[in-house]
Structure formats: C-alpha cells, structure tokens
C-alpha cells in the first residue's frame, strides 16, 4: 500500500489537527466541493476532530447526485428497450428516476450491465453487433476524458451500434453559482483534486479573486484533507484569498493538456440542469457536432422527457451548502438511502447518504 498508508498516518494527522486548532481563531465555513471528499471526511471521522469554529459543508461535487432526474428518466426509457444493452458505472443503478431505478429495469428483463470503464462498453458493442449498446456518460471533468476516448474509439472502429447518454457537469460554473447566491455561507473551498488533475486549477484563479474566497486544491486521503483544511484556514486567518495547491503530487496549474485537447474535440460546453439546483449556464458538456451521431438521446428519441423534482426534498440547499443534511425535515424519515427522495441521499458519496451511513443513529459525542 505504498503511497497510501503514508497519507493515513495517525501521528501526522494529530500534528496537523493540533496546528489547525492552533491557527483557527474565527468562525469559518469551508465547502468540500467533491462527494469523495465528503465521504473520506466522514469515513475517517475528521469531522469529529476539528475545532467547533470550523464548519464543513458539502458541495455539489457528487456526479451521481447532480445528474438531473430527467436524464435518469431518459436512461430508464432507453435501458428498457428490448434491443438495448445499457452499460453504466455501478452506483448509477440505484439512482431512482421519477419512478424506478436501473436495477428495477434489470429485474424486469432489461439488459443493464455494470462496467468499470466506458471502453468495456465499446468492447461489448464490438462483440455484439446486433445489439444497440449505450453507455451512461455522466460525471465531472474526472470521468469525461475516458468517456471521450470511448466515443473516439467507437468512431475509429466504425461502430454503428454504440452510443452514449451524456450528461457531464463542470465544477467552476457551479462554484460561481454558489458564490453568486445572496445566501451563500461559504468562506473557503476545498477544490476536488482529481478534477484539477485533469483540468488544472488556473480556471479557479478568477473565482478566488472575484469572490475573495480562498480555494485550496485538496486530495482525498485523511492527511490530504487535513492539509487542505489547514491551508484554507490559514488563508482566512491571514485575510488572503488565493488558489493554493495541497495536492501537488497529482495536480499542476495547467492540468493534463492532452486530455483537455481530447475533451474539447469530443465535447462542447452547454447549459446543464443540476439535480436539486436547477440550470446553470455553461456548466455542462454535450457531444460536439463531430460526434453527435453517438448521442443516445437523439438516437433513441428521448429528448422530449422533462421531469420535476419532489417538492419536499431540500437536496438543492444541501448541495449549495445552505443547510446540513440532517437539517432537512425529510432526512432519515421520508428520505433514506433505501428510499431516497433526492440527489444527495442517492449515491454513497452524496452528503445526505454519508451522514446517514456514518452518523445518523448516535450523536458522535456519546461515542467518545
């Protein structure tokens, strides 16, 4: 486990925590942008170790959570067709659309498969020319390069039976929307390290300046997160607002330039609806005109589907950091991971699911 245990060392964690406790004087609200960070923070109990003055709130960075209801409904309609093999990453199968989820479609006879890479879906298409193979291409800038590569590969192979239902979302416009809200409580961001490993962090610099908000590029291991929190708190205490990189082992300012080139060839920026938030301008990627023939939404004629969120769900407020998951009246009652109402309870990385999974039943103080 080289390069992993090093970032979970309890002694170093203790030193970082002591440092944070020493630095923090004011009351600060930090948003971890990515669901993976939320998961790691709670899984490692970091939230139980920080000073009370530092409040962590959870951002919109869970790809499963923010995929709009109507896209799920499109996926469900496509997957239920008899000639379709519908391929998806595993955790999308449990996400309910307006009625059912992909697991239900599968139990009703639909050919729904879990794959570990979009290239696996291309291979299935190549091996099964009589079937229409569709890949569910969702996620942030992290999953986009592999999805782009799959489409390029399908084109190179001349596959006529492969397509992708694409609903990519982009982080910087979401941060812009959060900070533009008059209700925002965010004092600083822990930016998602893996997004930045692809895209770099230069795009975050104008945001930090415009909103006078520190943004620290942060990884996912306990020490990464503690280091990111320490850097963000230090900036806040010193009155600075810069983009800093606490994940230099994976991230550069420029990011992965060949990946970016591939992305700009295959995708084009579009407005995108976010589940629980609504539409954010220029916040998504769809297939560019050169690759539109691979657009499953057009091929299967599901562009007409339009769906509305349940009214009682406040996941949009959770995703924007306006409330904590357990402050939603439906949390743990009408809404549980078994029967999720909203985006954030759906995925294991969603803030509500993470709260439910790791801490709902007992007050953490009582554990000691």
């Amino acid at each position: 486990m080289k390069y992993l245990e090093e970032f979970r060392d309890p002694e170093l964690a203790r030193r970082l925590l002591d440092d944070i406790h020493g630095i923090a004087k004011g009351q600060w609200v930090l948003m971890e942008v990515c669901g993976g960070q939320t998961h790691s923070l709670i899984r490692n109990g970091i939230d139980t170790l920080l000073p009370d003055a530092i409040e962590l709130i959870h951002g919109p960075g869970c790809p499963v959570c923010v995929t709009p209801l109507e896209v799920i409904d499109k996926a469900l309609r496509i997957a239920a067709q008899p000639n379709v093999t519908f391929c998806s990453f595993g955790d999308m199968l449990r996400v309910p659309g307006s009625g059912e989820d992909l697991f239900t479609v599968r139990s009703g006879g639909g050919d729904v498969r879990i794959v570990y890479s979009p290239l696996d879906a291309v291979k299935i298409a190549r091996d099964n020319p009589a079937r229409e193979v569709v890949f569910f291409g969702i996620g942030f800038e992290t999953t986009a390069p592999a999805n782009a590569m799959a489409v390029v590969q399908a084109k190179r192979l001349g596959l006529k039976n492969f397509s992708m239902l694409v609903s990519h979302v982009l982080v910087p416009p979401a941060l812009d929307a959060i900070m533009s809200s008059p209700h925002t409580r965010v004092n600083g961001f822990l930016a998602a390290g893996h997004v930045c490993s692809v895209m770099g962090y230069w795009q975050y610099e104008p945001l930090a300046q415009r909103f006078r908000v520190p943004i620290v590029v942060t990884g996912f291991e306990p020490l990464d997160l503690l280091q990111g929190i320490r850097m963000a708190v230090r900036q806040l205490e010193e009155g600075r607002y810069e983009v800093e990189n606490a994940y230099a082992r994976a991230v550069t300012r420029e990011g992965n330039v060949p990946a970016q080139k591939l992305l700009s060839e295959v995708f084009e920026v579009t407005p995108r609806k976010w589940r629980g938030i609504g539409e954010i301008p220029n916040s998504g990627w769809g297939l560019s005109s050169a690759y539109r023939e691979f657009d499953a939404a057009i091929r299967f004629d599901v562009t007409d589907i339009n769906t509305v969120e349940p009214a009682i769900c406040r996941s949009g407020d959770v995703l924007q950091g306006l409330i904590k998951p357990n402050e939603c009246p439906a949390f743990g009652k009408e809404c549980t991971p078994r029967k999720p109402l909203g985006a954030t309870m759906v995925s294991s990385e969603g803030a509500c699911a993470a709260y439910y999974q790791y801490g709902r039943f007992v007050s953490l103080e009582s554990i000691g």
Binding site: M1, L4, R8, P10, A13, R14, G36, I42, R43, N44, G45, I46, D47, T48, L49, P63, V64, F89, G90, D91, M92, L93, R94, F103, T104, R106, S107, G108, I114, Y116, I138, G139, F140, T142, T143, H194, P222, P337, R338, K339, S347, S348, E349, Y356, Q357, Y358, G359, R360, F361, V362, L364, S366, I367, G368
Partner: protein, 346 residues
Amino acid sequence: MDGWVCPLPLRDHPNVILGHGGGGKLSSELVEHIFLPAFRNDALQNLGDSAVVHIGGQRLAMSTDSFVVRPLFFPGGSIGELAINGTVNDLAMSGATPLYLSVGFIVEEGLPIATLGTIVERMAAAARAAGVDLVTGDTKVVDKGHGDGLYVNTTGIGLIPPGVNIAPQNARPGDVVIVSGSLGDHGMAVMSVREGLEFETQIVSDSAPLNGLVAALLNVTPHIHVLRDPTRGGAASSLNEIAKASGAGIVLEERAIPVKPAVRAACELLGMDPLYVANEGKLIAMVPREYADAVLEAMRAHVFGAEATIIGQVVESHRGVVVAKTGIGGTRVVDMQIGEQLPRIC
C-alpha cells in the same frame, strides 16, 4: 396462493432485485417480511447461521445454503469447495460438530461433464478435509440459458456438545471481538476474475472449513458467546446483525482490522470497503475478556486462525450500533449496507 397478501409489502421494489441477495438490509427485509411471517417457529426465530433443534435428547444444528457463484472456478477454489465449506461453517458457527451433508445440483444443459466431474471431485476432497459425509443428493438439469452452468445446494446437520450455547443474541458488554484472519479475500478474488480486473498480486479466496478451528476454541472454553462467519455482506453486516440481536453496542478499532494489501488496494480502486466484502474461511468470535488470551493462542495455533486478532469490543453504550474508531482517531458508524456494494463512479 389466491388472496395471499404480503403482510408488510416491500414498497420500494415490486420485484426482487439483486440487492435482495446481497446480505444487507434488503436481504434482512426479505427474511423478516416474507419468510419469517410465513414459516414462524422457535428454531427459525433465532436467525442464526444454523437452526438448533432438539431430537431424542440431542441438540442438532441444521443449515442449508445455495451456491450461485460465477465463475465456477476462481483463484483459491471453486463452487464445489464453497458448497461444502459454506454449510460446514454455518453449522460450526453454532458450535456444532458437522456430520452429514446433502447436495442438490441444478445443472444447465451444455455444462461439460468433465467440468461437473472436477467440481464433484473437489467437493469430495473438501468433505474429507472437513470430516463430513455427503449422504444424499439430487440432480436437476435446466434448459440452456436458465442457469450459470451450475448451482449447488448443500444442507447439513451436526451435533452440538453439551454446555455449548452460541448465538448472536449472546454478545455481552465486556466481550472482545476476535477475527480469525484477514477480511475481504474471497469477495475480491471472485470479483477480480469475474470482471477481468488484474492486480499486481493475485487475490486468492480464503474458502476453508472452520469446524476444526471452532473445536479448538471450544477446547479452551465452552463460554464462547457468539460465532459468525462473515460471508455475504462481510464483517460489517455480521457485526450489525449481532449488535441488533443482542442489543449491545460494538466498537471496532479500524487499524486493528486485518486486510491484505492486495485486497485493500483492489477495494480502494473500486471504492469498496473491505468490511462489507464476503469471506468464506473466516470467523468472528465474541468471547468474555477473561478467555481472550487463551482463545487467541488456540486460534493462532490452528492453520485457519494463524492471523487471529482482536479487532474490538462489545460495550454498554450505543446499543444495537456498530462504531469504528478510525485510523486517525476519529469515530464513525458502521451501518449495514442496503443491498450490494457498488463500484463508485470516481
């Protein structure tokens, strides 16, 4: 079945989904809402790995299990060894000495006879190793396309020695939680071949009969409170079931939980938690603290318990809930999984 109404309908899913077989909450719900109300009786009610019944003054343990693993062969074993060891272990977890097994084969048309022969030979070897006899059986052949080659069911009976009372209800504050070795080996071994994932080190299933190990434990003291083999749903599900059945709280020391580096790496890659991954040759024991050292020593002297270690304790607080002290000193709740663990998107 006309007029039959499900007493507590499972509202979320009108049809059975894969998660109902995942060993998590959905599985429990099938048992609690469908099977228990229909079959209710005292022996069933305990929901142990095996039922304990009284016949002619003897206490018999009885257990059944079906094996639907895909592929039929994987690193460290096959469906054959699993079918023997699985039922032997379920019997052993009530402290019984397993004696006789039945076997039912559901074979898909087209399965090569040579494959069936190899699996049967491996079953025979596993039965010899576990000291049990296969005394009755049944074979059905189903149409091509209606099975993954072969499904196997085994049912077993064994005798429980006098003075032994092992059940999930018996966990008591003050007990230590011991695990017999590394967690997650079987689940990740099967997943790595099923999904064509390649890791630097091959992950091998831990499939093994645990009746010898249990006998060694009972040799130290009959006062073992709980034994459980954490198969589907992994250690987290077993511990939650024990916490729920006994009404006690459980605290785990996360750093003490043994997980092989290759298994940990594979879990990291797929976004899975080894606490929820299946095992086929490990047991969890809850033992009064005064016997802990002697029990550990006996386990470590046995081939299937060489890496036995204490991973936590049973406590008075947070009753019915499993909590982990994390590696960096925080705390978290270890809840039961809903259905199956799913690989994360990123």
